[in-house]
Amino acid sequence: MAETLDPVTFEVLKNAFITSVDQMGEQILRTCYSFVIYNRDFSSALHDAHGHSAAQGNQDIAVHVGTLHFTCQDVMRAFAGDMHPGDVYAINDPYAGGTHFCDVRLIRPIFADGKIIAFSQSNGHWSDVGGSVPGSFDVTARDMFREGLRITPVRLFSKGRFCADVACLIAANTRDPASIIGDIQAQAEATQVCEREILRLVEKYGRDTVETGLAAVQDYVERAVRQRLAALPDGEWETVDFIDRDPSGPEGMIPIRIKMTIRGDTVTYDFTGSHPTIGSIYNSAFGATFSAVAAGMKTFFPDLPLNSGFYRAFSIVAPEGSIVDARWPVAVTGFLMPFEKIMNAIYEMWSRIMPERAIACAFNLEYLLTGGRDGRRADKPIYMFYDWLPGGWGGRNGKDGSNVTTACFGTGLMSQPVEGQERANPILTTEYEILTDSAGPGRWRGGAGVRKTSVMLEAEDSVISYICDRERAVVWGIEGGLPSMPHGLSLTRAGQSEEWLGSVFSDVPIGPGDTFSRPTAGGGGFGDPLERDPAKVVEDVADDYVSVARAAKDYGVVIRVIDAELCRYEVDAAATEALRAEIREQRRGWLETDPEHVAEAYRAGRLDTLDVVRRYGVLLDWDKGTLLPRSTAQFREQFAKRSAAGWRDA
């Protein structure tokens, strides 16, 4: 089809489509009410008359990529033959290709010459869509009925008239109805911004040309991807990543298996062998799985525009009822957890195909939800404190990983200012700093994570929930690089000692004076840490990214402190050489050590968490120190492939 457009018109339309979508994004950022949207958990798309995506926003969050056309098409099915200019529809249905209930999409048909030529779609993460807990993330949910309001396609504007009845029904099922109405208005306006641009193009170029352009831009991207695939050797690559556990199953990590096959100009991702859905919200429906594959692969084609042409270049095999193809009414609000596993697994496979873009595993997204009544004010208003932290990204081929960066589910997402949080919530943060030694060691180390510690002030009826993972499926290194560290939250009740609550829990009561603290992991290491230039280790020590003690343990680099006040350190070259030789000799043996002995040493305080994970490849219940035998076996199997296989022995 592209042949029918001259090159100028094609290029002009291609850029104009993207601009029209970016304008939607800009409008939504400036007018939204949901702080989650404001911090950039949103996306926008322009679709052709068939609902295929012709353009997505440059700043869109990765996690929505590749799902917007599904929801557009579901709306088309629902309202076939009954769409009119000025209509706007809403949908948030993960079982129809959406992500989770919080992501609510508003879709507007765009008419030219009395016929639909396109659709514009604005998708934003609302701060609440009802359900059993504030923020609509109940980790104990097993099915959708506790999760929140499912919106199958509804009409919110009919021929330009606001359907207040429907909108109010939706808003009334949430904890913040006034803001929800504000977001509906903001998103509906955003879709109109795109409509205005498309109609301008129709006026200038004519309906047929614009229609051809909407298809041609997809063909263009498909052609570009296929050409690159065809230039790669055919082959098969396989890997597995894990969710920590199934709360309703026995001990053992939950595998997500992917086999990637490149044949000619096609690529297939086959999830056969992945675990069935589990008894928590950490399941993914097909739309979200599709999105994870698209986003993971897009990372290796960063320059190409995103649209359905990209999505046509790959196919997915996902067994029905598996953790990557959950069906109604299985709970899927926590789809982000399988999502990030799929993304990182795809990073790992593509890293072998494109070593110049290779990257180890990134830290895991974490999401903290606290809510209750603010005791600082006489009227004790409801407060909702939702927080997410940046962490470290994986080491790269020739480059350390990025420090403190947003999770891979969307690198445009912004972390929140503590000063804003402290105004709005009865919470005082006492520490929010880079965590020394959080990065996975490697010739190119992972990026550093952080630790944030907060104390609850005057508050009543407050509970805390935490959505995270990789407390066991610890962030891994590649090419000989080491894992970083486990995720998990600790709570210290006023006047008591610290307790480990781990990476997933819900509705734990919390009161004034209680302190909660959680780290984010650094990224996994890339390459053998014993081959890291000692000069780089010294620099890391001067900046406190790495401690003197772990410089020795992880890198075999012995550092002498000359004058800490002046940041003067030096490498003891002879001692370093000796220590590195010693580690080389012993490290394969450490991985064979009886895990029970490791657990015992941990309980006795002879080994710390980082020793247990990085040296022995052992996973424990980090609170009690008891061994997780099945999880450890799974972890060691991958450790051998990703880390130990990349070590040189002399």
Binding site: P7, V8, E11, V12, N15, A16, T19, D22, Q23, E26, Q27, R30, C32, Y33, Y38, N58, A62, A178, S179, G182, Q185, E189, V193, Y220, R223, A224, Q227, P302, D303, L389, R396, K399, S402, N403, V404, T405, T406, T411, G412, L413, S415, P417, V418, E419, G420, E422, R423, L428, T429, T430, E431, Y432, E433, I434, V450, T453, D543, D544, L566, C567
Partner: protein, 674 residues
């Protein structure tokens, strides 16, 4: 007798000097090569232009010294002192990336490395209460460590200091005792606004630049004084005004991006002289184009900007959108067979193919040469362009791959370039609620006047203004400015609870500070203008909108109504039933610098003949087109397109179907639509 006004704009390649004779209003331009130490280039230019510094009444300057120091990290060793537990605010940032997909493209490192970020125990809560008192012994110990490290500047950045700056002030006093002479910036002094990263980032930039710009302005001031200039050197800042060296020390960060605002100011001023209070500036150079917008005589201002992504500088700045499209932008074909334009550029060297320096890829300039729009002899004959090489590049790069004739291919290249620039203009105009049909387009920079009319047509802008010296218009901008300072303060109150008396008192405090600073700079009371605005939002929204506010403040209801109106213009909807909140009070304090009027010229009635004719391609046809020498065109002269007007620093294209006239200021106004 002091009768000259001199403005200097130092760019990467050239230093432009604009000299205005106050008596006649006539302007003269001197262009000289920039030097390694920009001051040498400036003095060389002053010398070359034969300026007698004892006759200079005003010397103003736009400088890239601060911007370059940031980008190259040639900064003096700067330390940061933070609240215990918050050492890494400027490294954590907001944690987002600029390029969302390329995992090998990182946000650049912070301006202060982690080792030079120290902490002291202290804490103030969100209401301004002391939670942990400042540990004075520890504060002193940290100060001594910094002295041992011989740091050259310090930023003190404490949590919630925007509500209570007492700890920061005390820390500063201790530093001044322990390390006298080292400049100290405190966040509550630099920018008393909520949100730690934005405030700290601005404070750190301010601290790090302070020694750089103080050294620079002191040296330049001395050199000028040696030459006999006895007034204050005026420095252009991003807010679109100037400040004196007395303020530079404390607000060094305002000089970051100094040069960028100059073009926007010049464009606004020229359009205003022509009777267009609404204007869009299109400053197109060799590698990039800067787009700016003025509405009702005021430049659009933003606080959301940075020199490098991730490190905001929250001082009011004239909003300028820069895109990678210029005369040297390369046209290329991507792997999937699409015709692209930029952002890669052939740069100054080797430059476009027609320069004959070895580049064989076609650029916009080559396309303009092929179409006859750009002549082959430029800069008064100093530069010769090779038409054959231009045609060869266009043929091989675009015509052959797409099966087009060479002129068709050249036309295609320019249409893609113009569409990209139109998209940029669209972003700054239509998407902010402005209708381009109400605007004039001021086309300048070396290449702006070649593309201006095509872009205006694309956007239905009715008129294009080409200033007399398009290539050095930015320097003119430095000449047209007032002393200006911007103040702001967080004011987080719902409209329903807001007390006009309290707002008036807050503004009163800001105004007292403003008056003191302007008085310190020697501005007479009669020359002071104060402009208030309030950032407001619907409660629950996250972005605010600046709404002008009266003095005295008046009724709250009038303020909220003004907000509803602004919101509707900008975003196309209003929510009369939704509660409105205040976010921030802003004060712009201007010390008006009397401006000499630019010279006007009487129509002579002369009808100059074209210097020659040549075929120029428009819409697929070669038109026999007259070529005029701009210096020969008198005020009042009218001509109908097609025509080309050539001058030393630019070429003006007047396409068929348009009419142009020379106004009394010798601007060329091209009417695109009647």
């Amino acid at each position: 007798m002091q009768s000259l006004r001199v403005a200097v704009d130092v760019g990467g390649t050239f230093t432009d000097i604009c000299i205005m004779d106050e008596a006649t209003g006539l302007i003269r331009i001197e262009k000289t090569a920039s030097s390694r130490d920009p001051i040498d280039g400036i003095l060389a230019g002053v010398d070359k232009a034969g300026i007698d510094l004892t006759r200079v009444a005003l010397f103003s300057h736009g400088t890239t010294v601060a911007t370059n120091a940031l980008i190259t990290r040639r900064l003096p060793r700067t330390a940061m002192i933070c609240t215990a537990g918050f050492r890494d605010v400027i490294e954590i940032r907001r944690a987002n990336k600029e390029d969302l997909w390329d995992t090998y493209k990182d946000v650049v490192r912070p301006y202060v490395p982690r080792r030079d970020r120290l902490t002291v125990p202290e804490r103030i809560d969100a209401q301004g209460n002391v939670v942990t008192p400042l540990d004075e012994a520890e504060a002193r110990r940290v100060a001594r460590i910094l002295r041992r490290r011989e740091v050259a500047a310090v930023a003190v950045c404490f949590m919630n200091a925007y509500v209570n700056g007492a700890h920061e002030r005390r820390m500063k006093a201790i530093l001044e005792e322990e390390m006298p002479g080292v400049p100290v910036s405190i966040s509550s002094g630099v920018l008393p606004e909520i949100f730690e990263h934005e405030r700290f980032s601005t404070t750190v930039v301010n601290a790090a630049l302070s020694p750089v710009v103080v050294d620079y302005t002191t040296r330049l001031g001395e050199r000028l004084r040696e030459g006999g200039y006895d007034r204050d050197l005026l420095l252009l800042h991003t807010g679109g005004g100037v400040m004196t060296p007395g303020s530079v020390k404390d607000f060094a960060a305002r000089l970051a991006g100094s040069g960028i605002a100059a073009g926007a100011i010049a464009s606004r001023h020229i359009a205003g002289l022509c009777g267009y209070p609404n204007s869009i500036g299109l400053d197109m150079g060799g590698t990039s184009t800067d787009v700016s917008l003025a509405y009702d005589g005021q430049s659009r201002v933003t606080k959301d900007w940075h020199i490098e992504f991730g490190y905001p500088i929250r001082f009011a700045s004239i909003e300028v959108l820069t895109i990678g499209a210029g005369g040297g932008s390369l046209a290329w074909t991507d792997e999937a067979g699409s015709l692209r334009n930029g952002p890669q550029s052939a740069g100054a060297y080797p430059g476009p193919a027609c320069y004959g320096n070895g580049n064989r890829q076609p650029t916009n300039s080559d396309a303009n040469v092929v179409l006859g729009r750009l002549g082959t002899s430029l800069a008064g004959g100093k530069i010769t362009l090779d038409e054959g090489l231009a045609a060869q590049a266009v043929r091989e790069g675009v015509a052959e791959p797409f099966g087009l004739s060479v002129p068709e291919a050249a036309d295609a290249i320019l249409r893609v370039a113009n569409a990209n620039m139109s998209d940029a203009v669209r972003l700054i105009s239509i998407s902010r609620g402005y209708d381009p049909r109400d605007f004039a387009l001021v086309a300048f920079g070396g290449a702006g006047a070649l593309h201006g009319v095509d872009i205006a047509r694309e956007l239905a802008i009715p008129v294009v203004i080409v200033p007399p010296n398009p290539g050095v218009t930015s320097a003119l901008g430095c000449l047209l400015v007032d002393i200006q300072h911007d103040f702001s303060e967080s004011y987080l109150v719902g409209a329903a609870e807001a007390d006009p008396g309290e707002i008036e008192a807050e503004f009163g405090r800001l105004e007292a500070e403003a008056l003191a600073r302007l008085a310190h700079e020697g501005v007479a009371d009669a020359d002071i203008v104060l402009q208030r605005s309030i950032d407001m939002m619907y409660q629950g929204q996250w972005r605010s909108l600046a709404v002008p506010a009266p003095r005295p403040i008046g009724a709250i209801a009038d303020l909220t109504e003004a907000f509803h109106r602004h919101h509707e213009r900008e975003y196309n909807f209003r929510r009369d039933d939704a509660p409105v909140g205040f976010f921030r009070l802003n004060l712009k304090a201007v010390g008006v610098v009397p401006k000499a009027a630019l010279a006007t010229h009487e129509p002579t009635g002369a009808t100059p003949e074209p210097s020659r004719r040549r075929p120029v391609w428009f819409d697929g046809t070669a038109h026999d087109t007259p070529v005029y020498d701009r210096t020969s065109l008198p005020a009042g002269f009218r001509l109908a397109g097609p025509a080309v007007v050539e001058q030393v620093d630019s070429t003006v294209l007047v396409p068929p179907g348009t009419r142009a006239e020379v106004d009394p200021y010798l601007n060329i106004l091209i009417r695109v639509k009647e």
